[in-house]
Amino acid sequence: MSEEKKEGQAGQGEGGQKQAKPKVPRQAMPEQDPHVRAKNFDEVTLGYTEEQALLEASRCLQCKKPFCTTGCPVGIDIKSFIGLIQSKDYLSALAKIKESSLLPAVCGRVCPQEMQCEKVCILSKKGDSVAIGRLERFVADFQAKHGGGRIPKAAAPSGKKIAIVGAGPSGLTAAFDLTVMGHKVTVFEALHKAGGVLVYGIPEFRLPKAIVEREVKVLEQMGVEIKLNYVIGKIKTIDQLMSEDGFDAVYICNGAGLPWFMGIPGENLNGVYSANEFLTRSNLMKAFRFPEYDTPIKRFKNVAVVGGGNVAMDAVRTALRLGADNAYIVYRRSKDELPARKEEVEHAMHEGVQFKLLVAPVKVLGNEQGWVKGLECIEMELGLPDDSGRRRPVAKPGSEFTLEVDAVVVSIGTSSNPLLFQTTPGLGQTKKGYIEVENEETCRTTKKGVFAGGDIVTGSATVILAMGAGRSAAKNIDQYLKTGEWWSR
C-alpha cells in the first residue's frame, strides 16, 4: 500500500528519530464551557478540527506490532485507520473502521477507550496514549458533514431469513453483518425508535440522536427491515417467528431492560425513579422539551442519583440540565471503583455534580403526600481485604445522615426482562435471570436456531461489547445456516 510510506514519513516528521517521544502533546477535546453546558442539552464535546485531528494522528508511532487492536473488543485495525488520517484520506480511514465496526460515530463518543485500545497504546507507557476514540469520531463526523462513502454491498442473496429481536447496538451490528453475508434480516424493535440504549439511555448531550438515525438509515438502505413497536413475546412468539413466518434463525438481543431497585424502605414514593425512566422520559420522549413534547418530566431542585456507572452520570447530568441546584452521586464504594468512564466522571464534576462516595442509601424519606423529602444514608468504610484481596465497603454504625433531596434516581443496574421467558418455552435462563448460552462466543441458546447476545446474556455492559456480541452472533448464525449443527448441554 502506498499509504504506508506516507505514514512512515509522518512518523519521521516527529524529529526524525524512530520511537522518539513525540513532541506533540495529546490534543485536548474542545468542549462547551462547563457552566454553560450544565444548562443545555447540546453536545458537550465538540470534536476535533481537521488540524487537531492531524496533529493527534501524527502522534501515532505506527508500531510494527500494534497493541491497540488487541484492546478493541471488535478488533478495529486502528493503526491503519490512523495512518490513513495521517495521509488525510479520511473516507478510507472510515471505511477501514467500518470493516470491523458499524458505528464509529457512536463508539468514538461512548466507548471506554481508556480501558481498551488506549490503555494498551504503547505511548501510554510513558505518557498519554493516542486519542484513538477522538480520531474515530473525527472521521465519522467528517463523512457525515462532507458526504462521500458508499453503502456497503451485500453478497448474493442466500435465501435465508433471520429475525433479530431488539434494535440496539448488538442487533444493528448483527443486522449489518448478516445482510452483508447475503441473508434477509428483519429487526423487531419494541419501542417506536430504533437504537436501543443509544436512543432511550444515552442523552443528547453525549450522543446526538441524529447520529443514530443516520446509522439506522444506512442499514435500511442496505435492505434491513426494521419493524418498530413489535414486542416479540407478545405480538408474536419466538416459536411463531420460526414456524409461521419462516425465519431460519433468531437472534435475541433485547437488552437487560428491567431496572433494579435497592429494596430499601420508601422506594415507591413519588420522586423515586429508575434511571431508565428518568432517561427514557428525557431522551426518547424528549420530555426536557415539555410541553412542546407531550411527555412530562419533573424539574427537581435537589436530586440524588444512586449508582456510579455511566448511566448514573447521564442521569445526574440530566438532572442538572433540568435545573437542579444540587445534584448528587451517591455511591457505596470508593472513587477507584466507580464503573463510569473517567471522562464522564470528570465532566460531571466540572459541571458541579457533588459526589458522595462510600455512602450507601438506607431509606427514602417521604412527606405526608407521598413525595420524597430526603434520602437517609450511611457512611461506609473499606473493610479488611478478603480472600480475593478486595476491600469491601462495610457500613459504619452510627454514621447515618440525611441528604435533603426531593428526588432519588436509582441507577444501580438492570436485570433481564421476564417478558420473553414467559412465552418462549425451552429458552434456558441462568440463576441471575439472563438467557443461558453455550458460551458468549457462539451465542447459542438452549433452543435450536435461537441465538442471544448483549446485555440479555452478560448483564449491563458497554455498547461496544454488545456490538462485539452482535458480530459473534452473526458469524455463528451464518455457520449454523450452513451446517445446521447445534449443541447440547
Binding site: A190, L191, H192, Y200, L228, N229, Y230, V231, K234, I235, K236, G257, L258, P259, F261, E267, N268, L269, N270, Y273, S274, N276, E277, T280, R281, M285, K286, F290, P291, E292, Y293, D294, T295, P296, I297, K298, Q369, G370, N417, P418, L419, Q422
Partner: protein
C-alpha cells in the same frame, strides 16, 4: 401508521368519552383478554397505555376507549375517522387468567367498563356464569351496556345519582349480591378507579372471595424497562406492565398506587390548558 376506521363519542359531556376502532391486524390476532396497547398519536406524542376493549380478529381491528382527561387524551380525541395514529404497540401485559371458575362477577366502573368487556366475554366463553356490575356517575356516562349484556349472563347497573336503574355504588350491589341474595360467587374481577377497586376488595376480603384487580398506572415504555408503573403487591414491588396488569386485588397497596397516580397532575394541567387553547384555535 394505524388508521382510525371508526370514531364513536360515547358521551359529549366533558370530559368526553371516545372510542376508536383501529386497523391493527397483527395486534388483533395476538390479543387476549386483559391486555393493553401503548399509543403514540404523533411524533412529539406521549406513550399512552390503553386497554383493548374489543377486537375483531377477522377484520383485523381493535377497539380502544378513553376519557379525555389530559392533554394527550384530548389530543387523541381530536383525531377523526380516517386519521392515522403514529404508533401502536401491543398487545402488552399478561392476559387475564381465564378458566371455568363457576360464577364470575365482572365489575366495571366508569371507563373501566371497557377493559372489563373482553374479560367478561372470555369468562363466559370459558363456560362461566358471568354477572356484571356496571357503575357510572350518571346515565350519560354509562358505556358499553349492550356489549356487556351480550358478554354476560346477567347485568346489574348502578349510577351514583340514581339517573339510571339503581342509585348507589357498585360495592352496594356487590354486597347485596353476596350478603343479602347469598349468590355463591367464585371469582370477582374489578376494573375502575383505584378507590373503587380498593372498596370492592374490602367487600370481598371477609368472604375470602378471590378478586382480580386490573391496574391502570402511569407507564412510559410499557415493556418492563422503566418501572414507572410499579406497585406494591403482597409487600413486593411489581411492574404492572410485565407482571400485570392483573393482580390479586387483596394484596395491592391502593393508597400507594393512588399517590403515584397523582405524580404529574400539575404538568398534566399545564399541558391540558395549552392543549385546550390550541384545539380551540384549530377548531
Amino acid at each position: 401508521m394505524y388508521e382510525i376506521l371508526k370514531k364513536t363519542v360515547w358521551s359529549a359531556q366533558e370530559p368526553r368519552i371516545t372510542e376508536f376502532v383501529l386497523d391493527a391486524p397483527e395486534i388483533a390476532r395476538a390479543h387476549k383478554a386483559g391486555q393493553f396497547v401503548i399509543i403514540i398519536p404523533r411524533e412529539s406524542g406521549e406513550r399512552i397505555p390503553l386497554t383493548i376493549a374489543d377486537k375483531d380478529a377477522e377484520k383485523g381491528t381493535i377497539n380502544i376507549l378513553f376519557q379525555e382527561v389530559g392533554a394527550s387524551t384530548m389530543l387523541l380525541g381530536s383525531f377523526k375517522e380516517g386519521d392515522k395514529l403514529m404508533h401502536v404497540a401491543g398487545p402488552l401485559g399478561k392476559p387475564t387468567h381465564v378458566e371455568k371458575f363457576g360464577t364470575v362477577v365482572c365489575i366495571g366502573g366508569g371507563v373501566g367498563i371497557a377493559p372489563v368487556h373482553p374479560i367478561a366475554k372470555a369468562m363466559k366463553d370459558a363456560g362461566n356464569k358471568v354477572i356484571s356490575i356496571l357503575g357510572a356517575r350518571t346515565k350519560d356516562l354509562l358505556i358499553y351496556e349492550d356489549l356487556m349484556r351480550k358478554a354476560s349472563t346477567e347485568v346489574r347497573i348502578t349510577t351514583d345519582d340514581g339517573s339510571y336503574v339503581k342509585k348507589g355504588f357498585v360495592t352496594d350491589e356487590l354486597k347485596q349480591m353476596i350478603e343479602v341474595e347469598k349468590i355463591p360467587v367464585d371469582l370477582v374481577v374489578v376494573i375502575g378507579p383505584p378507590i373503587m377497586m380498593k372498596f370492592v376488595c374490602k367487600v370481598t376480603e371477609p368472604h375470602r372471595l378471590k378478586t382480580f384487580a386490573s391496574l391502570n398506572t402511569i407507564m412510559v415504555d410499557g415493556t418492563g424497562m422503566c418501572g414507572a408503573c410499579r406497585v406494591t403487591v403482597g409487600g413486593k414491588t411489581k411492574f404492572v406492565c410485565v407482571d400485570g396488569p392483573e393482580f390479586d386485588g387483596h394484596e395491592v397497596d391502593y393508597d400507594e398506587m393512588m399517590a403515584r397516580q397523582r405524580q404529574y397532575l400539575p404538568e398534566e394541567k399545564q399541558a391540558a390548558d395549552i392543549c385546550r387553547k390550541k384545539l380551540c384555535h384549530s377548531a
